[in-house]
């Protein structure tokens, strides 16, 4: 590749454009193949309408301008997962010139099942026999020339890992692109061939005008292909053709002893593929002896009935530690940097309103977005490691029994645990759940896992009402009851909103592989860019909205009144008191404060006064804000933290115990923060779901807080 003049910058005007769709089953090395094309431009985006990442590479080779799209892995055209749907739709509806079907050479027979389906699509195809380095090691010899001949499709041996055969693959693509389309040789059983022949001769007799060959039309008709059906449905020959088709389907189904034509065709493909494999794949003596593979040895430990789960918990603990301890270091730098940036810029802006907008609104908002990036990167690296090594499916295997009881999936565990750190990466990691319903349900209950940002609130209240010795236990109880509530909520949602049959759980357990640095780097980079691009704009917007609500309208009269008082203050203590008072008064008459007052009757049954309302509503923006808002409102100044002794004391003095309990319950259950909610909406696929989440968490929080308030009042009094 490298010695050829692949130059992504200069695209000659005369160049021909070749658009390639990269298709294959999961884990065959598509992403790695795209990566092994050096000097290519990487484009990251979304498939329209869904959250599935779309990677494209652009490069020039010889006189051609290439665009290669990495389509999500799919086992067959079953539309089971979003990924499969995306791929299927893309292949049927989008405009592209040629398919590269990536195949895992170490497991050809299984991979050819998808190939067979591609062959009926009447598109130009090149088969890339990937992982040939691994196949060679395992003693699997493939005669690709013979295979090309048997299938009527060019097959090229490649290895994405060692970059072998990549150039030849692209040359073949060009060659196939330039030649007229060749009919692939897909041979069926006698029964099916007979019916195909009947339909073909009927089409011939009526001189039916088709773009594709009659054979192809016939196969697609028999397969019940929607598009072909629709096309012929409006044709005059349909009335005569239909009975022939019905008869043919009956014949084929009878032959396969099934009432499902798809099943019949799957069996047809399987036996055809068995034939191909028998012809073109040879094994050295080594392979046939069926020695215990490395994967089997590792699995004996990692999915051991007794040790499997403890080992996994240890890995999780490690990932968690890394995410939130290692991640905290750059977070402090970032925080510091944006603080410094704000302070540096502030003096250069003379207008008060604009300065506040730029410093608190924009810089603060963008800072919040960037702040989470280290966490997200570390978490993504962890997940990419779990996925590319093949361990992720083992996790699902081990834990599915427990989580299935609550209507969840074995892999739900990872986003849920991540939720204890921060809901944003947790929502993003829910992507590992391939099924829509499993993922949505998991997304809905992630918030019940108390994130790190809620800790300050808990610490403050635990410290205010319990002694030092008890506070730890109280914290633990809060966290555990949150998790239990989450599982109960999952069960309830599963029985109501997500009612219906269980999604089937059938999952491949891929071979264990050493992670590839380049591939992980590429995956993490893609996802991080997506986060910054998509969520970033929304999060910054949300932060600015809250800034606006808590700063406007600004009462100038209050400012003037207090600036005099502050100036005349005798002691610095008194001065601070006035400053706090001013902040409190300003907040009270801001939009946020007004909302707090307005909603007082609504929250009275929970034992909240307007100050608690405001703190909770500001907490919708971010939980960190709850403590600082309480600080302002209880006249302690905005710069307090949860360890502030006097704030805890003030809270004990002003907030009845029952109200405090109910306050904590609300903080445990309601929306984590605006940033997380934005990410939630992105991951769930629609703002509609964010609205549902808001309603769901608010109602649950309200009801639980109401119960907690009244029970505590009866038990403790107050």
């Amino acid at each position: 590749m490298k010695q050829q003049n692949i130059n992504p910058e200069a695209c000659p005007v005369t160049a021909k454009h070749i658009k390639v769709a990269l298709v294959g089953q999961p884990n065959v090395g598509k992403s790695m193949l795209i990566n092994s094309i050096s000097n290519a431009h990487l484009h990251v985006g979304n498939f329209s309408g869904v959250t599935v990442d779309k990677t494209e590479v652009l490069f020039d080779y010889k006189d051609y301008h290439f665009t290669v799209v990495d389509l999500p892995g799919t086992y067959a055209f079953t539309d089971y997962t979003i990924e499969e749907r995306v791929t299927h739709e893309y292949l049927c509806a989008e405009d592209y010139d040629i398919i590269i079907n990536v195949v895992d050479s170490t497991n050809i027979e299984k991979n050819l099942q998808l190939t067979s389906e591609l062959l009926t699509m009447s598109k130009k195809i090149v088969i890339a026999l990937n992982m040939s380095d691994e196949a060679e090691k395992e003693g699997i010899l493939i005669d690709e020339k013979y295979m090309s001949e048997l299938l009527g499709v060019s097959c090229v041996k490649v290895s994405a890992a060692t970059k072998m055969g990549i150039e030849e693959l692209i040359d073949t693509v060009i060659e196939v692109y330039e030649k007229p389309k060749q009919e692939p040789k897909l041979v069926f059983s006698e029964a099916v061939e007979e019916e195909i022949e009947k339909i073909v001769s009927y089409l011939k007799k009526h001189k039916y005008k088709a773009v594709n060959s009659y054979r192809n039309v016939a196969i697609n008709l028999l397969k019940n292909n929607k598009k072909t059906y629709e096309k012929l449905h409006d044709d005059p020959i349909w009335t005569e053709l239909q009975p022939i088709l019905i008869e043919a389907s009956r014949h084929i189904e009878l032959h396969h002893d099934t009432d499902d034509i798809k099943e019949a065709f799957a069996e047809e493909y399987a036996s055809f593929n068995r034939g191909i494999v028998a012809e073109v794949v040879k094994y050295t003596a080594d392979e046939r002896r069926e020695k215990k593979s490395l994967t089997e040895k590792i699995d004996a430990i990692l999915i051991h009935p007794v040790f499997g789960i403890p080992i996994f918990l240890f890995f999780m603990w490690g990932l968690f530690q890394l995410t939130f301890t290692l991640g905290n270091i750059p977070m402090e730098w970032i925080d510091g940097f944006f603080g410094w940036l704000g302070e540096t810029i502030a003096p250069t802006i003379s207008n008060d309103d604009i300065r506040s907008l730029v410093v608190d609104g924009i810089i603060g908002g963008v800072g919040a977005v960037v702040l989470f990036t280290p966490n997200i990167i570390i978490l993504f690296i962890g997940i990419a490691l779990l996925e590319t090594t093949g361990y992720m499916s083992r996790v699902a295997f081990l834990l599915d029994g427990f989580f299935h009881k609550f209507g969840l999936h074995g892999q739900s565990f990872i986003p849920l645990v991540t939720g204890f750190g921060c809901s944003i990466p947790a929502y993003m990691s829910a992507r590992i759940l391939k099924n829509d319903r499993d993922r949505l349900l998991t997304l809905f209950i992630i918030g019940f896992m108390s994130c790190g940002a809620r800790l300050p609130v808990y610490v403050l209240f635990a410290g205010a009402f319990f002694g030092q010795d008890m506070a730890g236990t109280v914290l633990f109880i809060i966290y555990v009851s949150g998790a239990i509530l989450g599982l109960i909520a999952a069960k309830v949602l599963k029985m109501t909103a997500f009612k219906g049959v269980d999604e089937p759980f059938v999952m491949e357990m891929p071979k264990y592989r050493l992670p590839s640095f380049k591939l992980i780097w590429h995956t993490v980079l893609t996802q991080t860019i997506m986060y910054l691009k998509k969520a970033g704009t929304f999060i910054a917007g949300a932060a600015m909205l809250i800034w606006f609500l808590s700063n406007y309208p600004h009462n100038e009269l209050l400012d003037q009144e207090y600036s005099v008082k502050i100036e005349q203050a005798a002691t610095s203590e008194q001065k601070r008191e006035y400053e706090n008072k001013l902040a409190e008064m300003q907040l009270e008459q801001s939009y946020l404060g007004r909302i707090g007052k307005l909603t007082e009757p609504l929250f009275e049954p929970l034992g909240f006064d307007w100050k608690m309302n405001v703190a909770l509503q500001a907490g919708l923006a971010a939980k960190e804000v709850v403590v600082s808002t309480l600080g302002v409102l209880y006249s302690m100044g905005g710069d307090v933290d949860e360890t502030s002794h006097s704030l805890a004391e003030n809270i004990r003095k002003h907030i009845p115990f029952a109200s405090a309990v109910s306050f904590i319950v609300v903080v445990m259950v309601y929306l984590p923060c605006l940033a997380a909610t934005t990410v939630f909406a992105k991951e769930a696929g629609s703002w509609k779901y964010a609205f549902y989440l808001f309603i769901f968490t608010s109602v649950v929080a309200y009801v639980l807080a109401f119960i907690a308030y009244n029970v505590t009042r009866v038990l403790v009094g107050g």
Partner: protein, 74 residues
Amino acid sequence: MTLYEVEKSKKVKVIKLNASYELKQRLISFGIMKDAVIEVLEHAPRKKTIEVRVGKMRLALRAEEAQQIEVEEI
């Protein structure tokens, strides 16, 4: 006999899929169809999930799904 009842490290052949349309498609896409040979490899705790081998691929499926696959010994 269903796949669920098969002991560890025994090989069986699929006779019929007694599954819903959706699950059937899913199973077929993984190569579990009539005449396919399946080997049971491992049971998860309390046999909630089982690991099998179909051809060269390893698959995990739930007890419920395994119960819908009719097999015979070979």
